[in-house]
């Protein structure tokens, strides 16, 4: 029976020790005496100092699927990958991996500085599980991909760090696994190589094998993954469409939906914010409404501005910002008021966050509610910047075109 390659994580838990760790015999002997007679924790309990790095994580990756695992530092991403590759065993739960796993993790970890590039290709290839015959067969491809050319017989210790990383990536990129695992190796080498590497990964991802990626480069996750999983302190926050998951990640890592005063004397607070629609086509208009209140007993600086910032979640960058001062609106000195803004979503399709702020010239005073905005592709727009271009078409007069054609006809006749 033909089996399909794939990954199944079923309620996986992993416990780590934080406290008492004896890494010398000198420490061990007294500690063992102290622990003597005390009951050891069972699998389900935590001893003092233990903690769960991965808590009840379940997911499945089937052929043609690419799962992007995202989350902050210490969320359990790397541990999940180590469980997946079999380096660690789960404390509870079951993992089933069908097929040979190829991992693009620490792609040049096996390199020995004193060996030549050639010797290291064979060594690292073997470490990653390639057979000698496969490496020999694909050797030229690997060297060409890495672009190390004539330096292949030089000791790796004389390589630049870029060459080192490129060679490592090239070896890993020529594995022929059934299941692919990628950990943060997308930013290797110079710009040209990064594009080549990304192209190769896309090729591998689209070849139909199950893929798991861990990355902080959210735009890459958006481009490559069919689904995404957000981890926070070992727990799955959400799984699903990468756009939604990335939006959740931002919510968690920036602010809550509620407003928050950043200085004790914030003179204006934002009480409410709303957006005309949760999604908009690229290049179309969207309305944003912000309700503010002047806090009466706080002194007024005179340079306050209520503003809106558009943040691209994929690129993690502020795309645009504007405020009342930049559009010359005087804020009232008392009472509650509503600001209505209309912006044209002249931005690349993707998930965005609309942030509301009160700021002074050099300081942020109040962080208002955040709204999410999904910009969808439209026929009028593709790319990363909308230029609002105009174009005109001019017809070439009939007689000019016939004259050219006649000239070409003459030439062909002469040739024959």
């Amino acid at each position: 029976m033909a089996t399909e390659p794939g990954i199944v994580f079923d309620g996986v838990w992993k416990k780590f020790q934080r406290g008492e760790r004896h890494d010398s015999l000198r420490d061990l002997i007294p500690a063992a005496l102290r622990r003597f007679g005390r009951r050891a924790a069972t699998l389900d309990e935590l001893d003092a100092g233990d903690f769960w790095v991965v808590k009840d994580v379940s997911f499945q990756v089937r052929p043609g699927e690419c799962l992007g695992i995202i989350g902050g530092n210490g969320a359990g991403k790397s541990t999940t990958l180590k469980l997946l590759t079999g380096i660690l065993r789960p404390t509870r739960g079951a993992i089933e991996v069908t097929g040979r796993v190829g991992s693009l993790i620490e792609v040049s970890a096996g390199f020995h500085p004193d060996l030549s590039g050639r010797e290291n290709v064979f060594l690292q290839g073997a470490i990653m599980g390639m057979s000698h015959a496969t490496i020999r067969r694909r050797f030229d491809e690997i060297v060409a991909f890495a672009g190390v050319g004539e330096f292949i017989d030089m000791a790796v210790k004389r390589y630049s760090s870029g060459m080192n990383a490129r060679l490592g990536f090239a070896i890993a990129a020529h594995l022929d696994p059934d299941v692919l695992i990628i950990d943060e190796v997308l930013a290797v080498g110079d710009l040209g190589f990064q594009q080549r590497a990304f192209g190769r990964l896309m090729e591998l991802t689209r070849s139909g094998m199950p893929v798991v990626i861990v990355s902080h480069q959210l735009d890459r996750v958006l481009q490559m993954c069919t689904s995404s999983l957000l981890l926070r302190t070992g727990e799955v926050v959400c799984v699903g469409d990468p756009r939604d998951v990335i939006a959740r990640y931002f919510e968690g890592s920036t602010t809550s939906a509620e407003g928050e005063a950043l200085t004790s004397d914030a003179s204006y607070v934002i009480t409410e914010a709303s957006i005309g629609a949760p999604g908009v086509g690229s290049g179309e208009f969207i309305d944003i409404r912000v309700t503010c209140r002047r806090v009466a007993d706080r002194p007024l600086r005179g340079d306050e501005s209520v503003g809106i910032v558009l943040v691209s979640l994929a690129g993690a960058t502020n795309v645009a910002a504007f405020g009342t001062r930049s559009v010359s609106i005087e804020l009232p000195e008392s009472g509650t008021f509503t600001l209505e803004a209309r912006i044209q979503a002249n931005v690349a399709p993707g998930p965005y966050s609309v942030e509301t702020w009160v700021w002074a010239t050099h300081e942020s005073l109040f962080r208002g509610p955040r709204l999410s905005l999904d910009v969808t592709p439209t026929v009028t727009f593709d790319g990363s910047v909308q230029l609002n271009p105009t174009m005109s078409l001019h017809r070439v007069p009939e007689d000019v075109s016939t004259r050219v054609h006649g000239f070409v006809d003459d030439l062909t006749q002469k040739a024959s």
Binding site: T3, I87, R100
Partner: protein, 313 residues
């Protein structure tokens, strides 16, 4: 070159299941784990070869002495043993026999194999920590390749020994030489057991390598290299043979320089008139048993703890 049907689902894909280990019978479980370990290692034989080659290449690549490296340690042992024996000979007023020197040369080679292999293997997991924590492969290849690289050195030294022995007046040409391969296999087996155990222990307890260093330095006084166990008297000799290396080293010496059949006991009469057992077939059995029990035990310990390696960086 791509083979048609590369992307099509392959038949019989390997499946790896990791879950909580369930307790079944202790012995069948151990046997199952050991077969699994051997299967994994056999699948990684190319990696083992590459790592062994790496260790050998690096040792010889920038060495001034080249193949002299392989002979350096045994030669040092023979020379220091010579000094010790000269001192003993002077003290007791007996002449130094050339067969004593030959016997010492025969024992210096396996002893330096043991010291070299254990020295490299003990640190092999910790030295490759970035691999151990990040890349999945059977971890046993690291200590095994350290032993493998030392095998290469020892092969060179054995070749040199075969040339030198006739010069010392010993022509090792008897049927007893057939014991040599068996003893060497036992030596490699016992060394591998120690290598697996110590590399693993050193990963969990970093002071193990200092203890090992001291043991290897002074071990030569507790292992019959400079001396013969019979020199320790009727009571001392069997005690010296308790060191699992002693029967192997003595067996090699007796087989190579005396052409002694190891299935037969051998005793000698000391100057005092006491009769001392030099060799007994039980010594051989003891060595075989230590290796046959030690190697699977160490392998099992290693195999079971390897999932904790990445947690104990």
């Amino acid at each position: 070159m791509t083979v048609a049907g590369d992307v099509a689902p392959r038949l019989e894909l390997p499946v790896r299941r990791s879950s909580v280990v369930r307790e079944s019978g202790a012995l069948p479980a151990a046997a199952e784990e050991l077969t699994q370990m051997v299967r994994e290692l056999r699948r990684s034989h190319e990696l083992l070869y590459q790592l062994t080659r790496r260790d050998i290449t690096i040792r010889y690549k920038q060495a001034v002495m080249g193949f002299g490296w392989a002979l350096f340690m045994p030669l040092m042992i023979v020379f220091s043993g010579l000094v010790v024996q000269l001192a003993l000979a002077n003290f007791s007023g007996r002449a130094l026999a050339p067969t004593g020197l030959a016997g010492m040369a025969v024992k210096a080679v396996p002893w330096s194999f043991f010291v070299g292999a254990i020295g490299f293997a003990t640190n092999s997991l910790v030295a490759n920590m970035s691999l151990v924590t990040k890349v999945a492969f059977p971890r046993a290849v690291l200590p095994l390749s350290a032993v493998g690289a030392q095998c290469f050195d020892t092969a060179v030294a054995l070749l040199a020994l075969a040339i030198v022995l006739p010069l010392l007046g010993v022509v090792p040409a008897s049927v007893a030489l057939l014991w040599v391969p068996l003893l060497l296999v036992l030596l490699v087996g016992f060394t591998t057991a120690c290598a697996l155990f110590l590399s693993c222990a050193n990963l969990f307890y970093r002071d193990v390598k200092y203890i090992v260093q001291i043991l290897l330095t002074f071990g030569i006084f507790f292992t019959p290299v400079f001396f013969e166990p019979s020199m320790l008297g009727a009571r001392g000799a069997p005690i010296a043979m308790l060191n699992p290396l002693s029967p192997l080293l003595e067996g090699l010496r007796l087989a190579a320089t005396h052409g002694h059949n190891l299935l037969e006991p051998l005793s000698t009469t000391l100057a005092s008139g006491a009769v001392v057992m030099v060799w007994s077939p039980w010594y051989l059995l003891y060595s075989v048993l230590v290796t046959l029990i030690g190697l699977p035990a160490a392998a099992l310990l290693f195999y079971r703890s390897q999932y904790a390696f990445a947690e104990y960086v």
